[in-house]
């Protein structure tokens, strides 16, 4: 017998509490992964052809301004009320958040460092993989942190287009069954998930950048940069480009 406790998931969701978490993580992270896979080469192109960066930023800023609910609804026409419909907008948002961080990160590599790498006989691919990318890691992770947090939060809105919101579906059931503890469960679990992912990304950055001082000024600085809204960046950038 299922009770009405905090972790008792109503049968109509047809999965357990852990199942919902798994679904939520999947719906949130696959888009970020695809977003990153597209953003890396796109960012590289923007670094390479600097004239490309301004228009790319404008397009991405406009895309980012499209509300998630509206985006879902436009897509229902093509992909139905499915998980794909939820994941496509999240992919676009991730892409939008990641391109500027990657460009900023790669651009922050000093020219001397690049020249040194060339002098050591690194080819362009090696230079990218062994020099530019590692140095850009803090900036990329900063972008990833915002992308992951926003993705996790937005999956819940999928509940409004027909039970596609994973943990967000608990909100619908909270209303259906007059059970506020389900709403509490949804909010708390989603928030904890976002914070845990954030911590994981910080740890990842530390692991990938062993040369950086831990918990030092640089790390704190990076933490704050992560918190600065990425949509704020275009305004800063379009004057420099």
């Amino acid at each position: 017998m299922r009770g009405a406790g905090f972790f008792d998931i109503p049968s109509d969701l047809q999965t357990s509490y852990l199942g919902l978490i798994g679904l939520h993580v999947e719906e949130a992270l696959i888009p970020v992964a695809i977003g990153l896979a597209i953003a890396l080469p796109l960012g590289q192109l923007c670094v390479r052809f600097s004239w490309l960066y301004a228009p790319v930023l404008w397009v991405t800023t406009v895309l980012y301004a499209i509300p998630s609910l509206a985006f879902f609804i436009f897509l229902i026409d093509y992909t139905g009320a499915t998980r794909t419909t939820v994941m496509i907008p999240l992919t676009v948002y991730s892409l939008v958040l990641l391109v500027p961080s990657i460009v900023d990160g790669v651009r922050s590599v000093p020219q001397e460092t690049m020249s040194a790498a060339t002098a050591m006989g690194f080819g362009p691919v090696q230079r990218y993989l062994k020099v530019q990318l590692p140095i850009a890691v803090p900036a990329i992770v900063a972008g990833l942190r915002v992308a992951v947090a926003s993705s996790i939060s937005l999956v819940s809105i999928g509940a409004l287009i027909g039970n596609q919101g994973a943990l967000g579906n608990l909100l619908q059931d909270a209303i259906l069954y007059h059970r506020s503890n389900l709403a509490m469960n949804s909010v708390v679990t989603t928030a904890v998930l976002a914070v845990l992912m954030d911590i994981a990304l910080v740890l990842l950055r530390m692991a990938l950048t062993p040369w950086m001082p831990r918990g030092g000024r640089a790390a704190r600085r990076a933490a704050r940069t992560a918190a600065v809204e990425p949509t704020a960046r275009p305004a800063l950038e379009d004057t420099t480009v």
């Binding site: 017998m1 047809q14 597209i38 192109l45 990218y128 027909g162 039970n163």
Partner: protein, 333 residues
């Protein structure tokens, strides 16, 4: 800077392009996988559209092979879905559930295009949706009228004795203010209609069994309409706090007694017949399934439905457990 970057254009550009293509392919594949199932249901949806729109983008993907039992977005509908589904399983029918589809406006479309096989319906409400002008005088006549208007691929099984009507229900303060009692009719409320805010689910605004019928049958034109939910906590909260003075509350709702709401009489039978009745797709349901659902309807009366609803809404039991326990108690599991 320029000469330096120029020398690297070739390989780096190439690798970048390769990754873009790979990522785009991956994305397309991903999209293709999950949308392939619903594209198969599209042709039937467009051929039997009925409405003015050839394709319904709100349709959800179909599940193949099994009997899909669906529900609308309120607790009682989910409960009845579980009752039907578990009764079918007991007779060896393979069942999958598609709960919380939405409103009748959405779920009826899913039955037509074959993505849902069985849906708990309420005969009078379904008739009002199919034929705004119908005014049957008995439940039998209602069933006949529905069959006449129903999509040829669909049919209604036996109705249960259990009824759950929409109603115009007012809160205690409004009853006291305008001297209305449980003997008063909706027409009595219509006299003070210009001072009344009516609440109901968003579709109540455009339905015959809603504002449309209230105006044509009783001349009730409220001061304004507040979109809430289908007899859920929003509606109850709004009525209780006097955000609305009258609302569409289900006659099986436990809040009526608890909050001292007054259900107004409906002499013109706008919300006339609302027997619980399975709406099914003919092709999708085997004979054993038909027998199983008719057996359920034979046992389900209003008192039972009230009791089951009460277990879900007030005692916070899970609808699936409530459904299984009841089926067991009447020997249908």
């Amino acid at each position: 800077m320029i000469s330096h970057t120029k020398s690297t254009t070739g390989p780096r550009h190439l690798s970048a392009t390769a990754i873009v293509i790979a990522a785009a392919t991956a994305a397309a594949l991903l999209a293709g996988c999950s949308s392939s199932s619903d594209s198969s249901s599209d042709p039937s949806a467009s051929s039997s559209g009925g409405g003015s729109k050839p394709k319904d983008p709100l349709a959800a993907p179909a599940a193949g092979g099994t009997v899909v039992v669906g529900s609308n977005n309120f607790a009682e509908s989910i409960l009845l879905m579980d009752v039907y589904g578990e009764a079918l399983k007991a007779k060896g029918v393979k069942v999958s559930y598609q709960p919380n589809i939405g409103t009748r406006e959405v779920s009826y479309g899913l039955l037509k295009n074959g993505s849902v096989t069985v849906l708990p319906e309420f005969n009078g409400s379904l008739l009002a949706y199919l034929d705004k002008s119908a005014a049957p005088t008995s439940a039998q006549a209602a069933t006949a009228a529905i069959e006449a208007k129903l999509d040829p691929k669909l049919t209604m099984l036996d109705p249960a004795a259990a009824e759950d009507k929409d109603s115009v229900t007012i809160n205690a303060a409004t009853a006291a203010k305008y001297h209305l009692t449980s003997q008063s009719t909706i027409a009595d409320l219509a006299k003070v209609g210009s001072q009344i805010v009516v609440g109901g689910s968003p579709e109540f605004q455009t339905r015959q069994q809603g504002l449309v019928g209230l105006k044509s049958e009783y001349g009730l034109v409220p001061k304004s309409f507040k979109p809430l939910d289908a007899g859920g906590p929003l509606t109850v909260a709004a009525l209780k706090n006097n955000n609305v003075q009258a609302a569409d509350v289900f006659s099986t709702d436990a809040s009526v007694a608890r909050e001292k709401f007054v259900v107004l009489q409906d002499p013109k039978k706008l919300f006339g017949f609302a027997n619980v009745q399975p709406l099914v797709s003919k092709a999708g349901l085997p004979a054993a399934g038909v027998a199983a659902l008719n057996a359920v309807s034979a046992k389900l009366d209003t008192k039972t439905l009230l009791d089951l609803d009460n277990q879900v809404q007030n005692q916070k039991k899970d609808p699936l457990d409530v459904a299984q326990a009841w089926l067991k108690s009447v020997g249908l599991s």
